[in-house]
């Protein structure tokens, strides 16, 4: 079911809270800080896009957690960069879909596997190379095979590299040697299931590889998606054009809708 929203998504006025939501603060205060900021952010956001579905069903609350992992090179933005992007996406998800979205921030760790399995959708981002201990690699594979889903977005080091993206694709190749990630064709459902994105995942910056996916053998279902174009920064509504920001939000919503329906 392809659709185009009736009204364009407005640029999100979040600059005023930018300085108050630093990476270090997020890391230090963890989830509790994120919760407080989410509440504050939602109050400051002037979003007028109408909800497309009512009534929203309150059951089976969807949680949008961030994965914590170790980045070991010299890049600036680590696993916890730009949490306001998560806040904005959750907010828009609540407004523009009938998904019952939790506005609570959540951080999960691959070394706490049982806890992580409570949140089948996980978002991860960074700029540089990262390193997973062997047990976490094993857990990631198990997580995906159980039906979990990871959206991995490259935050793009220096605005034109693809370190995180390539490393994630290589990691998946290591975990699934016979089934490496492949470029997702533009007519794939993930680009059309809620918003129609004929150009695929928006490319905000970096190397335009296009979105890659791990396709489940036998069913063709996407188990994880990697985007090289920094859509997460698009969610933050501060670096790119309004059109790119809007497309980034749409891609995020499409990915979550795809996850909940496949």
């Amino acid at each position: 079911m392809r659709r185009t929203p009736n009204q364009p998504i407005r640029q999100l006025p979040i600059d005023s809270i930018r300085d108050g939501l630093t990476r270090r603060g997020f890391l230090r205060r963890g989830g509790s800080a994120m919760a407080a900021l989410a509440a504050a952010g939602s109050g400051l956001l002037n979003i007028s896009s109408p909800a497309l579905a009512a009534p929203a069903v309150k059951t089976g609350q969807f949680v949008f957690p961030r994965l914590q992992f170790t980045v070991y090179d010299e890049t600036v933005d680590l696993w916890n960069c730009g949490p306001i992007g998560d806040v904005n996406l959750r907010k828009k998800l609540q407004e523009l879909t009938n998904i019952n979205v939790s506005q609570e921030p959540k951080v999960v760790h691959l070394n706490d596997f049982d806890e992580m399995c409570r949140y089948p959708f996980v978002f991860m981002t960074a700029e540089g190379y990262f390193k997973l201990p062997e047990i976490e690699e094993k857990n990631l594979r198990e997580f995906l095979e159980r039906g979990g889903f990871v959206l991995a977005d490259d935050c793009v080091y220096l605005g034109k590299q693809d370190r995180f993206f390539r490393f994630y694709v290589d990691l998946i190749k290591k975990l699934f040697p016979n089934n490496p990630m492949r470029k997702i064709p533009l007519d794939h459902e993930i680009f059309h299931c809620y918003y129609d994105l004929p150009q695929g995942a928006p490319h905000c910056q970096g190397v335009p590889h296009g979105a890659y996916g791990l396709f489940e053998p036998g069913t063709g279902r996407l188990m994880t998606v990697a985007t090289p174009g920094d859509i997460h920064c698009g969610w933050m509504n501060r670096f790119f054009t309004p059109e790119l920001n809007e497309k980034s939000i749409q891609m995020g919503i499409n990915t979550i809708i795809y996850f909940l329906t496949h």
Partner: protein
């Protein structure tokens, strides 16, 4: 002397000895006595004057002679007869029934390894001049009628007509048919020569009661060893006739291991390929072992499987070591329609569980906005789903199961809710409602047809949805329910459920409805989590949680706990689902020339029976010969068509039934034509049954060593019966010349004396 006696008395001396004197005059005895007394008085009155004219001695002599003559005259007028018992014209009969079923071909070691049928032939027809058979022994006593029987009776008159080829033994029918055929005939005795291995028809004791009611004793000559040698036997295999592709098939198997204490193997084979092997270890508690085997068939269409125990060295009877069954695989996908109120993880994981299995065709209708639905898995004919739930029976009845997710009743029109009820009640489909804030009572289903169908009581006042995490446990009696059986072994299954991950979220309901079955309950509170019940032709389930996805995420990827549970529940729900064309045969395994009845039920897309369809059955035998038989509507049942087929060839037959003009491909199934193996099941001689039959009729039970005793008993019985059936026979005495001579002598003597004394 004898001719003179016969001339004088008209009868032989024997006649007088074997009968009794009876007066056959129509005048009453009292009247005859009065007349006789009057005659005596009259004679005395007439002779009283003569007393004065002669001596008293002479008077007494002539008076005595006259009275004797008068008495003799009255005797003759009383029409005296000798009454004796004479045999009825037509004589008496004996019926001889000889078992010619296949089990009579068994050679028992206890009977010199001679086939039972040979012993039967000798007993009835004799074995040369030295040994006369029963028929010869009673030939002069009565008429005999001899029958061979198996599953029907047939008159025979020679031993070569007993072939031990009968494919079943029906003692009840044999006796019943003989009784019917000889109705009105004076049947004196019935002789039954058999091993007593009855495997079809009514009870043998009931058959004996028919003879008992007629007063006919049954003489049983029992052949065979009641204590058979060590034997392994596949007694019964219960298998579904149809199964879905990629689904597990369970077999309930009964084996007998008479006299075996050592372990042996049970094989499941298709052709020469061994699919499964199970080691059976007799525990000494009995001869029978029941077990369950499960396998996932991988063939296409129809196939014959065999459950077999390889013959052991010490076995004398190997014919009963295997049993075949035919399994048809449905290659169509089970159509399921799942409508959900909004994207949620339960939708994702349930859809994923069914989508991964090619046996299911899951069509998802997901509400993304009011009156906006995201349709997944639909084909080109299901464009109506873009507007939501189907609105006509023709559309809805395309599916076999409907899943209502977290979606409120207001989404459906009253007509759609009525259709849902018809879907379950008439079409036989399965309905499943899942927990959520907008389902059950909270979704305002209580006053709707869906509320009526649910196995749980609901009301709008039920407590709100709780998203807490909790443990659920299987109700004790439900552990063996097909839905809850995630492992074949009971202990393993219990362990699986005991260690099941918790669920997340529950919709409280008012309670369980009477007649419903609770399968899964919340620990500590006992709230229903999964309840099921039948409704009309279909089934309904209520799963009050919306968080079974947590099962999937909490179990290793290599396990199928979550997937298997949902697939089993959906499969169980659709068991009663009717197809537009359903085909059945009256059995799965036949013997040669055993008529096969093919039955087809034809309904329209709205499940109304069609009586004017042109239905054709195509049967292909193992040699590839194809035969098309038009099927006729049977008139007594709406939409039901039948035809019959007489198989001539042993082996696997293919049946394909089609409706002319329909696009749907023919419904295929198979049946097997094989040697009868039933006859060799539990083939020891049934002594107790045969003894009870004999006792019930006051006949006798005999074994081959007592053959002569049986013949004597039958002879005695038919003789006695001949006498019992005799009719009275009167031989008149009044016209015996002796009486006339005596009468003449009395009168002459009296006259001569009177002349001499001057009284005449």
């Amino acid at each position: 002397m004898t001719p003179l006696f016969q001339w004088l008395f008209n009868h032989s001396l024997d006649n007088f000895g074997g009968g009794k004197l009876v007066f056959s005059s129509p005048l009453a005895g009292e009247l005859r006595f009065l007349l006789f007394a009057a005659a005596i008085v009259g004679v005395w009155f007439l002779y009283r004057k003569a007393a004065a004219r002669t001596s008293r001695k002479t008077w007494r002599v002539i008076l005595g002679l006259r009275l004797a003559a008068i008495g003799l005259l009255f005797f003759m007028l009383g029409a005296p007869v000798i009454r004796s018992q004479a045999p009825r014209a037509g004589g008496t009969f004996a019926a001889v029934m000889v078992d010619s079923s296949a089990s009579m071909s068994i050679a028992d070691p206890a009977l010199s390894n001679r086939p039972r049928i040979d012993l039967a032939k000798e007993a009835i027809f004799g074995a040369g001049p030295q040994q006369a058979g029963l028929l010869k022994a009673i030939a002069g006593q009565c008429e005999t009628v001899t029958y061979a029987f198996s599953d029907s009776i047939k008159r025979i008159d020679a031993p070569n007509q007993l072939d031990a080829q009968g494919q079943a033994t029906n003692l009840f029918r044999a006796i019943h048919d003989v009784d019917a055929e000889l109705r009105g005939v004076p049947l004196a005795a019935a002789v039954l020569v058999t091993d007593g291995c009855r495997n079809t028809g009514g009870s043998a004791e009931d058959a004996a009661k028919m003879l008992q009611a007629r007063g006919v004793p049954l003489y049983v000559l029992a052949l065979g060893d009641p204590n058979p040698p060590p034997d392994l036997e596949v007694v019964q295999v219960l298998a579904p006739a149809r199964a879905r592709r990629n689904s597990e098939v369970e077999l309930d198997i009964t084996v007998r291991h008479t006299g075996f204490k050592t372990p042996f193997d049970l094989l499941l084979k298709r052709g020469d390929t061994i699919i499964l092997t199970r080691r059976i270890e007799p525990d000494g508690s009995g001869d029978l072992t029941r077990l369950r085997m499960a396998f996932t068939p991988d063939h296409e269409g129809s196939a014959t499987y065999r459950v077999e125990i390889p013959a052991a060295k010490e076995e004398k009877l190997a014919q009963n070591n295997a049993k075949d069954f035919v399994l048809d695989l449905q290659d169509d996908r089970l159509p399921v329609l799942y409508i959900e109120g909004s994207p949620r993880q339960e939708y994702r994981f349930l859809r994923r569980a069914l989508f991964r299995d090619p046996d299911f065709r899951l069509v998802g209708v997901l509400r993304l906005a009011p009156k906006r639905f995201y349709v997944q898995g639909a084909n080109g004919n299901e464009t109506y789903l873009k507007d939501g739930f189907p609105t006509t029976a023709e559309q809805l009845f395309t599916y076999q199961a409907i899943v209502l997710g977290d979606i409120e009743a207001d989404v459906f029109s009253p007509q759609q809710l009525q259709l849902l009820e018809q879907f379950v009640k008439v079409r036989g489909g399965g309905l499943l409602m899942l927990g959520g804030v907008n389902s059950f009572g909270l979704g305002h289903y209580a006053p709707t047809p869906v509320g009526r169908m649910l196995p749980v009581s609901i009301s709008p006042g039920d407590p709100p949805y709780s998203d807490e995490q909790y443990a659920a446990s299987v109700v004790e009696k439900a552990m063996a329910h097909p839905v809850m059986k995630l492992a074949l072994d009971a202990g393993e299954n219990k362990a699986l459920w005991d260690h099941a991950p918790p669920l997340v979220g529950i919709t409280p309901v008012t309670g369980l409805k009477p007649g419903a079955t609770m399968l899964l309950e919340r620990q500590k509170t006992g709230q229903p989590v999964l309840a099921v019940q039948d409704y009309g032709a279909g089934r309904v389930a209520a799963f009050t949680s919306g968080g079974s996805w947590f099962w999937r995420m909490s179990k290793p990827a290599s396990t199928e706990f979550h997937e298997k549970f949902w697939k089993q529940l959906i499969r169980w729900l659709v068991v009663g689902a009717r197809e537009q064309l359903m085909v059945s045969t009256d059995a799965e395994i036949y013997t040669r020339r055993d008529p096969v009845t093919v039955r087809a039920t034809v309904v329209g897309k709205d499940m109304t029976p069609l009586n004017e369809a042109k239905v054709v059955a195509q049967i292909t035998d193992p040699l590839g010969n194809m035969q098309e038989i038009p099927m006729d509507w049977i008139l007594s049942e709406e939409g039901v068509y039948e035809c019959h087929f007489l198989p001539e060839t042993e082996g696997q037959h293919k049946l394909a039934v089609r409706v002319e003009g329909w696009e749907a491909k023919p419904v295929e199934k198979g049946f097997l034509v094989s040697q009868p193996v039933l006859e060799f099941s539990d083939a020891g001689m049934k002594k107790e049954v045969l003894m009870r039959m004999a006792e019930a009729t006051h006949g006798g039970y005999y074994e081959p060593a007592q053959l002569m005793a049986m013949i004597d008993a039958v002879k005695a019985r038919v003789t006695q019966a001949a006498l019992e059936s005799a009719v009275p026979h009167d031989q008149p005495l009044w016209d015996m010349p002796m009486l006339f001579i005596l009468l003449l002598g009395l009168f002459s003597a009296e006259w001569i004396i009177r002349r001499r004394k001057g009284l005449a």
